[in-house]
Symmetry: C2
């Protein structure tokens, strides 16, 4: 299999799927900003981006090539360029700056576990840092090729390791090589009658290894569970040893090491394989959109759904701001918007909170679950917007990141961040983070996207005219004040984006000094010289 490097270096996804920015989005933003957007500045061409010079020694290159083949040790401009950065806002800024872009000294593509073992051995001997690279979709700096204390750094692209290793149909366990991406994985599983049910927004590009390394949550995780809940077994190859954890339904054999693999972020070793709970492929998938009178009311309604065991597999509720933004971006403003507003006002849900629901499963069970959920939501004042609106959401569920690229070309900063907390603390955290972001951005929206018996996630989007003198400082100020507000208001620093570089300074607030020390001790045990993904997580 060929390594897949189809993601464009300069933004999300592929040029073919990028689409265009609609005039009504521009108009709406200009109205909100009270100023015209900048004129379009496209990202640089690949050839125009200057990378840091490759420092890989000839000796190291030879050693690596002798193991995996020269074709799998790449130092060409485009391969290095596509492994310079993830897809966070600072990543996009760095790529667009196009000068002295920090690039891996080489990109190495192992074909199997023994390759990974050999590469780590060579890197330990030669003093080369290793950045594991799956889909490259990190939005927290997780794949930035930092050298740490080392002289050079390679990006270790798992793209050649993408087999469906086995399916245990009786136990509903799939075992996957780490480099397998979402669509290919689902295609292989569906052919056997199963689904993983894991659909993060990055689904089209991200990998099994990346999901496990970052404790990913998918859009349907309220139904199918988060990746860390689905992780039954794993293999992690580290410089000083290997964790090979057999797939087990449960155990009481001391602390569960699966929880050290999940969230390890390439800093403890290379995840090469994961055994995950799979589910029968759904016969039917049904989406639906509703409007609730308020976000606070929607939160309470979603809590009831969850506690009564009636939560749909996909359950999301946007606050009033995000609802307005969503309608405007979908072109439902102006005359269309007035019509909708009248309809909703008559039903008591004008300027309300958009709720998206999705069910997956056998058609009979979906019908009864749907009836139960809708009946409960109607008690909370829900007004149906129909299956069409739900399908529109589903159609666009993986494409919103493209919008950020388009807006960046027009000098608009768009960024997202997420957290989670208990139900009793949810609105306090919502207000705290919202206030922090509002000081930095005229548009701040939020939605609840993952439900748990004890609480829910909050996902914030903020939009502001870019400060073109120092866009990174502008971003950092907003980001850090939002993170401080998360900590101050009892949220977790990240619900599904991981720590990476961006949240590293907040790990101590999350885990305490003794917790961070314990994790460092684990790292020292598995990676004594610290070559694994330096500068991330710990």
């Amino acid at each position: 299999m060929e390594p897949s490097t189809e993601m464009r270096f300069s933004g999300w996804g592929t040029d073919a799927d990028a689409g265009e920015l609609s005039d009504h989005v521009i108009e709406w933003l200009e109205q909100r900003f009270g100023a015209a957007l900048g004129s379009r500045v496209p990202p640089p061409q690949a050839a125009d981006v200057r990378l840091t010079k490759s420092r890989l020694s000839t000796r190291a290159a030879e050693k690596l090539s002798s193991r995996v083949g020269a074709a799998n040790v790449r130092t060409d401009h485009l391969t290095r360029l596509t492994h310079c950065a993830g897809k966070g806002y600072p990543d996009l800024l760095a790529v667009r700056a196009a000068d002295k872009l920090l690039a891996p000294d080489a990109v190495v593509f192992p074909g199997d576990e023994s390759d990974v073992r050999a590469i780590l051995k060579t890197c330990a001997k030669q003093g080369i840092a290793v950045v594991p690279f799956g889909g490259g979709t990190s939005v927290v700096g997780g794949v930035t090729p930092l050298r740490g204390a080392f002289n050079s750094v390679i990006s270790l692209d798992l793209g050649r390791m993408r087999q469906l290793i086995s399916v245990d149909t009786k136990s509903q366990i799939g075992t996957f090589a780490a480099g397998l991406r979402g669509p290919e994985l689902e295609h292989l599983l569906r052919a056997r009658g199963f689904t993983l049910g894991h659909f993060p927004q990055s689904f089209e590009h991200s990998t099994v290894g990346g999901w496990v390394a970052t404790r990913s949550a998918g859009q349907a995780s309220s139904g199918y569970g988060r990746i860390d809940e689905k992780l039954l077994g794993a293999k992690l190859i580290a410089p000083a040893g290997e964790l090979e954890l057999a797939a087990r339904p449960a155990s009481a054999a001391g602390p569960d090491l699966r929880a050290l693999v999940a969230g390890s972020e390439g800093a403890l070793g290379v995840i090469t394989e994961a055994s995950l709970e799979i589910s029968p492929a759904p016969e039917v998938t049904r989406y639906e959109a509703l409007m609730l009178p308020s976000f606070a009311g929607a939160a309470e309604a979603l809590r009831s759904l969850e506690l009564q065991g009636e939560a749909p597999d996909i359950t999301r509720a946007s606050d009033e701001n995000e609802t307005q933004m969503g309608l405007a971006f979908a072109g439902i403003d102006g005359a269309k918007g007035k019509l909708l507003e009248g309809y909703l006002r008559r039903r008591g849900a004008a300027a309300g909170a958009l709720v998206i629901l999705g069910w997956e499963g056998a058609s009979g069970s979906i019908d009864s679950r749907r009836r139960a959920a809708l009946s409960l939501l109607k008690q909370h004042g829900a007004v149906g917007l129909g299956a069409g609106a739900g399908r529109t959401w589903a159609k666009n569920r993986f494409s919103t990141p493209y919008l950020r690229d388009h807006l960046l070309e027009r000098a608009v900063m768009v960024e997202t961040l997420e957290t989670a907390t208990t139900w009793s603390n949810l609105m306090r955290l919502y207000r705290g983070v919202g206030e922090a972001l509002s000081a930095h951005a005229p548009i701040v929206g939020c939605h609840i996207s993952h439900l748990y018996p004890s609480g829910a996630s909050l996902y914030f989007t903020f939009v502001a005219p870019q400060d073109q003198r120092d866009p990174l400082a502008q971003w950092a100020a907003a980001k850090h004040e939002a993170c401080d507000a998360i900590v101050a208001n009892g949220g977790t620093i990240t619900h599904h984006h991981a720590i990476g570089i961006d949240h590293r300074r907040y790990l101590k607030a999350e885990d305490g000094a003794a917790g961070v020390a314990a994790l460092r001790a684990v790292k020292s045990s598995l990676d004594p010289s610290g070559l694994m993904n330096p500068g991330k997580l710990l």
Copy 2:
């Protein structure tokens, strides 16, 4: 609150609840053994047990007393005696031997977290090992007062720390002090309309801290979840620092440290507090017993129940041997047994597998869940034995450990061990362990007691005439061959009993050398001088 030390030192529970050994149990065993049981040898009186001499230095005793009060630093015979051992078969043998019984040099009862902190500090300074003690119900040696490399050892009894700290009704989270025991905890929660739903066989005596430290599973964990799944937040006080993990529904902030607290077995620090998912108290609890034609068929039926989301909250299936033993011990043999056998034979389930089901919840939802489960089980050939048989099981659910004590008095070895594996591997593991045990015991029974989407637990009981020359060697031979069979057949070394002393040699098979090294690194970080529960877990 007074420390509770009501558990008798010489066996399970209290004298008042111990009951008596029925004649039909004796008869049935004598028939199976082809020999008369030994005549009754009651355990020694407390005064007749000789303990190792207390080595606590006067200086250390003074230091500890000055902190927690002299009344809470006990060196009297009875207090030391009740903290010598857990309730495993080797524990019972050691207590009955009554000579040079390894005893803690003192038993210290902290009143709060600052006491715990101060005690650990004193012990670190004075070189005293610390064995955290909850309910003392470990069956794997978890509370044995080993000194490790230290001159003396204290048992740290959490019995004074048993507050319900808080209930977040909106988020369904209860926060409990570690020393709180099952009945008191349920009493406090029910008064607020909630239940923890955690009912291990040790429920009446074991504690929140013990459950978390050992990754306990309760009889209703198929419904309510295991304790490690319910753990949202925790406090662990270690010699070199404290883990204080806020209750969170979910996070992606690196490896989840909750998974280091769960299963820490007192070897990483003292768990002082846990925040656990709670549930609305059930309106109704309903039990039912059925007979299925075979254990293999029952396993398949239970898998279907689980995968179709129809598993009752309590779901257990005994193999043919355990079913026969259970009926005989309940007095359903002889003439009564013949009647039942005829009834079952006519329905195709003679010599079958006993299945116990239990539902908890609102009466309406129980009715529909019960109908769905029974209808599915009927397709697998289930014959109903009625609610009476189910209630009998429920009535006796916490009392079977007493039977072991009675039989030990009659020179019968009774021991249990448990494991778990995937559905596809379940019968292989069942046969492998069963064969290993059969070489050592004429009676070997097994049941499935916990269901997961990917597999289930297996719980073995084995019964043999005691080898009175060396009963410990007899036990060790059976135990180790069974454990070897578990490892060889792909099971986890323990599903809910923990590692303790007995499973320590198998941790490497479970976690691999690198995994054990990582855990040791965590221990060194939190407990650099190794004073926490030496000789257990790691």
